[in-house]
């Protein structure tokens, strides 16, 4: 079951006020909504296809592809990022139509009107190319792509209870629960673009004396709420290097240095403080692997997999609000003052949840989903497995667009081996289901309950999607 936001029975006059069927349901709803307001937010993936953004040809090249599903009311598409050492600018197209030419600066932002020309449900395929680049060492990074504004009418401020329990006043609390649920459902839940079995290094770098450093990941981190933290999870396989570790840079500053590994397999599950980022804003994140010592230069590259790259609610309060205590039913007598306080606390919690989501850009912007692409079918097949869209099921419905074979995989990850029994880094999942009937591009609404055993909280992967996002309902 996803977080349940319960619908109350019709509230009518003349019946005893029920704890279990009214007051407690409202309280539980408020708690669930508070939890939903602290949505896990995947990082905005800025990796280039080859795959590090700071390794590219001197000519123009494709910086990245994203996709976004249009809903009514959106008027602006914002693309923002950073650039250094660059020449020329950027060309941004939507569905292969050039919509913006961007002049690059240290921090650049382009606002593109999408007020017309699109209908609800349309998929916007966004391509960002360099234009006029002549510098092989330029660093051009897209840090965020999102559409605004979002609005939903119908919110009524929770009433204050002073001793009367009219059905219409109680109904406002129930309606506000429903409003918050629908409001949060307006923003799709995007996947993490997972990175499986990325190569590290097997040497100490060109100098032979410094660390053998390679960028494993580049993206941007949103701090959606005050108590949000960054979570990086995956694993590392140190094959032959004697010592090796990872470092995480946040906004250019070192934020985490991993323990030093020796050859072996290691799980990575790192919470990182992001309190240096203002709430509602982003900072660049870079993960590097660093070889510290090697036996010789004939060893094998270490392998890194990053499957969770997201912000989530931190340990300092989750849910962030303190819920009102449950109120006891008969036989304990209750004063009207106590009941008033309980209902007003629920109302206050709903109001605070609304404030939370309005203050967090996690719910005021619809962000673009990173697309995987390849220059040919071989690349495509390789990249869809190396960089699948990875979800942890939170909702009931998956909206997905892609060209067959479009596959949903979940369950145990099964590694393939070659004839000699060596791991090939090719893998499948225990359950893999085709989502399309053909090799054509199809848009599908997938109801996740159709996949036996894919329970809420379990991870699953989509291979080959141009767009994939979950809805709560």
């Amino acid at each position: 079951m996803p977080f349940a936001v319960e619908t109350l029975m019709p509230l009518v006059a003349g019946v005893p006020l029920s704890v279990s069927q009214v007051v407690e349901l409202l309280r539980q709803n408020a708690i669930a909504l508070d939890g939903l307001a602290y949505r896990d937010m995947p990082l905005f993936d800025s990796m280039a296809s080859n795959p590090s953004y700071d390794a590219h040809p001197s000519g123009d090249f494709l910086l990245g592809r994203w996709s976004l599903k249009y809903i009514s009311g959106l008027t602006s598409l914002i693309v923002t990022g950073t650039a250094s050492g660059s020449t020329g600018g950027l060309s941004i197209s939507i569905n292969s139509v050039l919509v913006a030419s961007v002049t690059l600066a240290g921090i650049w932002t382009e606002t593109i009107s999408i007020a017309s020309g699109y209908g609800a449900g349309d998929l916007l395929l966004i391509d960002v190319y360099t234009s006029g680049n002549t510098n092989k060492t330029s660093k051009i990074v897209v840090h965020d792509i999102y559409a605004t504004p979002l609005s939903l009418s119908g919110w009524t401020a929770p009433p204050t209870f002073t001793g009367g329990y009219a059905p219409d006043k109680l109904q406002i609390l129930a309606d506000d629960c429903d409003w918050l649920h629908r409001r949060m459902n307006m923003v799709p839940m995007l996947p993490t673009l997972a990175h499986y079995f990325r190569n590290g290094r097997n040497d100490l770098g060109n100098s032979g004396s410094g660390a053998g450093i390679i960028t494993q990941y580049t993206g941007s981190v949103l701090r959606p709420a005050a108590n949000s933290i960054l979570r990086i999870a995956g694993w590392a396989n140190i094959l032959t290097n004697l010592t090796e570790r990872i470092k995480v840079y946040l906004g250019g500053s070192l934020a985490y240095t991993g323990t030093t590994w020796t050859p072996g397999g290691y799980e990575i599950n790192v919470p990182i403080d992001i309190s240096s980022i203002a709430v509602g804003t982003r900072a660049e994140l870079r993960i590097q692997s660093e070889v510290l010592s090697v036996a010789n230069n004939l060893g094998e590259d270490s392998r890194y997999s990053f499957i969770t790259l997201q912000t989530e609610a931190g340990g300092a309060g989750y849910p962030a609000q303190t819920p009102p205590a449950p109120i006891l039913p008969r036989p304990a007598n209750t004063s009207a003052t106590t009941l008033n306080a309980a209902l007003n606390a629920i109302g206050a919690m709903l109001t605070a949840t609304k404030t939370t989501i309005e203050a967090s850009t996690a719910f005021t912007r619809i962000r673009a989903c990173r697309r995987v692409y390849g220059y040919d079918q071989h690349d495509w097949s390789k990249f869809t497995r190396a960089h699948p869209h990875r979800f942890k099921r939170r909702g009931d419905v998956l909206d997905v667009t892609g060209k067959g074979p479009l596959i949903l995989g979940y369950g145990n990850q099964i590694m393939e081996t070659d004839d000699d029994g060596h791991r090939t880094y090719a893998y499948t999942f225990e359950h893999e289901e085709s989502l399309t009937d053909s090799n054509l591009v199809e848009t599908k609404t997938i109801y996740l309950d159709n996949f036996a055993g894919l329970e809420v909280g379990m991870p699953y992967h989509i291979f080959g999607a141009d767009y994939a996002a979950e809805r709560l309902f």
Partner: protein
């Protein structure tokens, strides 16, 4: 000892109008029996009652055929009182000779028990909703929000008592004075006997559904048992049989306490039900032929009851074209529409009825029907237990609603268990008041006072739970249960306009 003058008017409706067959035909034998529950050891047990019956010996009414199922009603008038309906039902058996006939009659219960139908699934709707002069009871009416109980009554031919003026020819009337306390997660009817199912529904809400002596089917919620001021008092003091309003009861009256009504611990099992997102709910591979121009009806029964069915995008009535695989005999696909087939869908919770019409001039073969919808699936059964074990003896454990499909959540089970415990934590005095004067105003479900020095009762509140009116000897017999100390509406915060500032009340479970 004189017998009070009571006259009975007996009418039957063999065709479209009521025909009075009284005409001094009553031979002194009219017996009407009913009760609010079938559990004589526990008159407060929730659920459905047994039948209200009437047995009459009458003179043969010349020229009137009284077949089984003929509606019948009996109206009594006690000297000095207004005429009062004392029975409304139908004849089940009519056996007679040249001069007399014996009519065995049953109430609306029989009608409801033999009615079967399929409802949609109601979500968290109170099982029985209050009937008023303005409540929308017609399922096809605008703003229909009545409970499943009301739905069953209506489908059985009943109409709300409070709106009887609008429905003078109703098969029977029903009344719900107050909303049921509980709204099951999901409630639906799927072809079973309505009476049996409405009994389960009443049980799941802790109340009673019964046919009262006036022929009206009632649902009462348990907090009303002790409510209101008693209009009548039964008393042993200075009363005589021939005083109708004296509240006399005879020396053969008795009392009893039964362990069957007591509980220290109450267990309420439940099987969770929850609606799940859209998924395949019907996959039917039966091959069906539809000749050109013909219509066939296809009844499909999904494994789980359905919250909804998925229709074609933008349509509220038409299935997605992929839902029905239909081909002409040459293998060509038969499309929806005039050149292929048309269809209608009737959705009930546990039955989907498709009516498919071949609109073309060629026969069509349907090879597969695949429907998507939101099923209401069952989860892992569980139970709750409330109460305390007494320190000095083993606890009396009572299990309520075992196997009742309408108890579907822990909160519901907890509510019901707590309610049951409150009603049954003490043994209650059950009275059998015999040889009472005829009093057509007394009715099942009525709270009366009882005064009896021998039993230590002084204006003690009792609920009439059974009634036996024997016109043969002019005497009434009552069964009543003590309702002193039971939780009542007034103990609780009530949703509405009352201002409770400065007050302390209870919150119901």
């Amino acid at each position: 000892m004189s017998i009070l003058a009571v006259t009975a008017q007996i009418e039957v409706k063999p065709a479209g109008a009521w025909v009075d067959i009284t005409n001094a035909t009553v031979r002194g034998s009219v017996r009407i029996s009913g009760a609010t529950t079938t559990n004589s050891d526990n008159p407060l047990a929730s659920g459905a009652s047994g039948d209200l019956t009437a047995d009459l010996d009458v003179m043969v009414a010349t020229g009137i055929t009284i077949a089984s199922s003929t509606p019948i009603r009996i109206t009594y008038t006690t000297a000095g009182s207004a005429a009062t309906r004392t029975f409304l039902g139908s004849v089940r058996d009519n056996q007679g000779n040249l001069t007399t006939a014996h009519l065995s009659c049953v109430s609306a219960r029989e009608t409801i028990a033999t009615t079967r139908g399929y409802s949609v699934a109601f979500y968290r709707r109170r099982a029985f909703t209050q009937t008023t002069t303005t409540s929308q009871e017609d399922p096809t009416g605008v703003g229909y929000q009545a409970g499943l109980g009301n739905w069953g009554f209506w489908q059985s031919g009943g109409r709300p008592l409070e709106q009887s003026g609008s429905y003078p020819d109703a098969a029977f009337y029903y009344s719900v004075p107050q909303h049921s306390l509980i709204a099951p997660e999901w409630s639906w009817l799927a072809g079973e006997s309505f009476w049996e199912q409405l009994g389960l529904l009443a049980e799941a809400c802790g109340g009673q559904v019964y046919v009262a002596r006036d022929g009206v089917v009632r649902y009462i919620q348990p907090l009303t048992y002790p409510s209101g001021s008693a209009l009548f008092t039964f008393s042993r003091s200075a009363a005589t049989y021939d005083q109708t309003s004296s509240g006399y009861f005879g020396p053969g009256s008795s009392y009893r306490f039964t362990s069957g009504q007591k509980a220290d611990l109450v267990v309420c099992p439940y099987e969770p039900r929850v609606a799940r997102p859209l998924q395949e709910v019907v996959s039917d591979d039966t091959v069906r032929q539809v000749p050109a121009g013909e219509t066939i009806e296809i009844i499909l029964e999904p494994k789980w009851p359905l919250k909804s069915l998925q229709y074609a995008s933008g349509s509220a009535t038409q299935l997605d074209p992929k839902a029905i695989v239909a081909r002409f005999y040459d293998g060509q696909s038969a499309p929806q529409g005039a050149s292929g087939y048309t269809h209608t869908v009737t959705l009930a919770a546990q039955r989907v009825t498709l009516t498919v019409t071949n609109a073309s001039s060629r026969p069509i073969q349907i090879t597969k029907i695949k429907l998507s919808g939101e099923p209401i699936v069952a989860g892992e059964p569980s139970s709750v237990t409330v109460g305390e074990t007494p320190p000095d003896r083993p606890p009396i454990k009572r299990t309520v609603c075992d196997g009742n499909p309408f108890v579907q959540s822990r909160s519901h089970a907890l509510f019901l268990a707590e309610l049951t415990l409150a009603l049954h934590k003490d043994e209650r005095m059950i009275l059998n008041l015999t040889d009472c004067p005829p009093d057509v105003l007394r009715i099942e479900g009525e709270t009366v006072n009882v005064t009896c020095a021998e039993w230590g009762l002084s204006a003690a509140p009792f609920l009439i739970t059974g009634l036996d009116r024997d016109q043969t000897n002019g005497r009434n017999h009552y069964e009543a249960v003590s309702v002193a100390g039971l939780p009542a509406d007034g103990d609780f915060f009530i949703v509405g306009s009352t201002n409770y500032t400065g007050l302390t009340k209870q919150l119901i479970w």
